[in-house]
């Protein structure tokens, strides 16, 4: 699966987009100003950049996402696993488990996800 690269700041923008979509671009710019501190120009620049990469689209001043939150999260996770854990899932789980106290239920849930 090849999800396009989304930068941290763009991800924060996407969080807003997923929450409000479909949304009028001017309205979106207003929300971005309040929540991200972005200027109108910046918001529109980012919308255009994300459209170019196929992450979002802006049609008739209505902005929608083309990729789901989960897809991007998975893509980011893949990238982090590749970078930090040399692509090893066990290494990642081990590090994750060491850092966080997991309840038995959570462990079961994780195992279920892995086996799926």
């Amino acid at each position: 699966m090849n999800s396009p690269k989304v930068f941290e700041s763009e991800y924060r923008f996407c969080l807003i987009l997923w929450k409000y979509e479909p949304i009028n671009s001017t309205k979106l710019a207003r929300i971005c100003k309040d929540e991200l501190g972005w200027s109108r120009t910046t918001t529109f620049t980012v919308i255009r950049r994300l459209s170019d990469r196929g992450v979002a689209k802006n049609e008739n001043a209505t902005v929608t996402s083309l990729i789901s939150k989960e897809d991007i999260q998975v893509a980011q996770m893949d990238e982090m696993m590749e970078k930090t854990f040399e692509g090893s899932l066990p290494a990642f789980i081990a590090a994750f488990a060491r850092h966080q106290e997991l309840t038995d239920d959570e462990v079961k849930e994780i195992l279920r996800i892995i086996e799926k």
Partner: protein, 398 residues
Amino acid sequence: MGSLFLKLVNLSITASWLVLAVLLIRLVFRKAPKWIRCFLWGLVALRLICPISIESAFSLIPSAEPLPQDILYTEAPEVHSGIGVIDTIVNPVLSSTLSPEPGASANPAQIWLFVLAWIWAAGAAAMLLYEQISYLLLKRRVATATLLRENIKQSENINSPFVLGLFRPVIYLPYRVADEELTYVIAHEKAHIRRKDHWWKPIGFILLAIYWFHPLFWVAYVLLCRDIEAACDEKVIREMGTEDRRAYSAALLHCSVRHRVIAACPLAFGEVGVKARIKDVMNYKKPALGIVLLAVAATIVAAICLLTVPKKDINKQQEIVVSTNSRETIQNGADALYSGIPTELIQPDTGAANGASLSSMGYTETIHPYGGQTVGGSHGGHHSENHHDSSHHNGSHH
């Protein structure tokens, strides 16, 4: 623009004495609190900005106007640096190269000044442009930075934290700053804003852009940047214990490891000399009151003695007129041979000048204020031969 340039050169020369004093005070009072250093740089800035000079009897500045404004029009251009040796060496060269040639349409001093003034203007414009462009580029780079809280934003396009903006300063941080370091990093940048460093640094750079021709101010700017960081660190750690300081140092180090991008920007607060700063942070002790008082006293003395210029004496001014006149006769007349002025008129003056030249090393204002200059006059004979030659040359053109 010529006279503006001349004014700036004069200001830069008088201010460079103050810079030297600041360098000395920095060296002597290494243990004094760092804000004193920033204050000293403020005095230098004041000297460079303020076009009028306050006169005082305590001034240690050798000359209020080393390059007189009339250098353009006088027939015998010369400097009054207030230091006999310099005048003695420079003035004969000046008068032999820059004296107006009879028959030539423009005065060489004017041409030189014109050329130099334009070079200066181009350099200053280039530096200000560089500042503007790097500011705009940096601003564009952090356009997508997202709000963390209040005036703190995070961006993936930067590697080290800094403050940007004059009226509404914003702290920019990289996303990947560990939580335990975040507090310290923010404390540091907030201290910058409270200290108004986001104003001081651009002011420093603008002054550097204006006085770029003077190497001493480059030294001063680099040291100013360092002192600002050191003073800011000091402000943050003043009330901290050793543990906190260790953590603060670690944060400093981490932020500087990935640092590279910001170095090109003169405005933002990049990291300067991290090793020295960490040393300072870890070794910080509250400065002893005695040292603080001494450093403050030294600062006040420096301000009184080097921020002011020597009193202009009316007698002295008259002397300038007199000596310029006599120089005129020497030059115009090539030892009075051509102008027909009796040699006796000139001889006594030259004699006095030679007498003064003996004491020019131990020169004090009371002996003969323009001793050096009149020594130049004694070379006038030699010079006027050149002069004579060149007028011959001119003659052949006619």
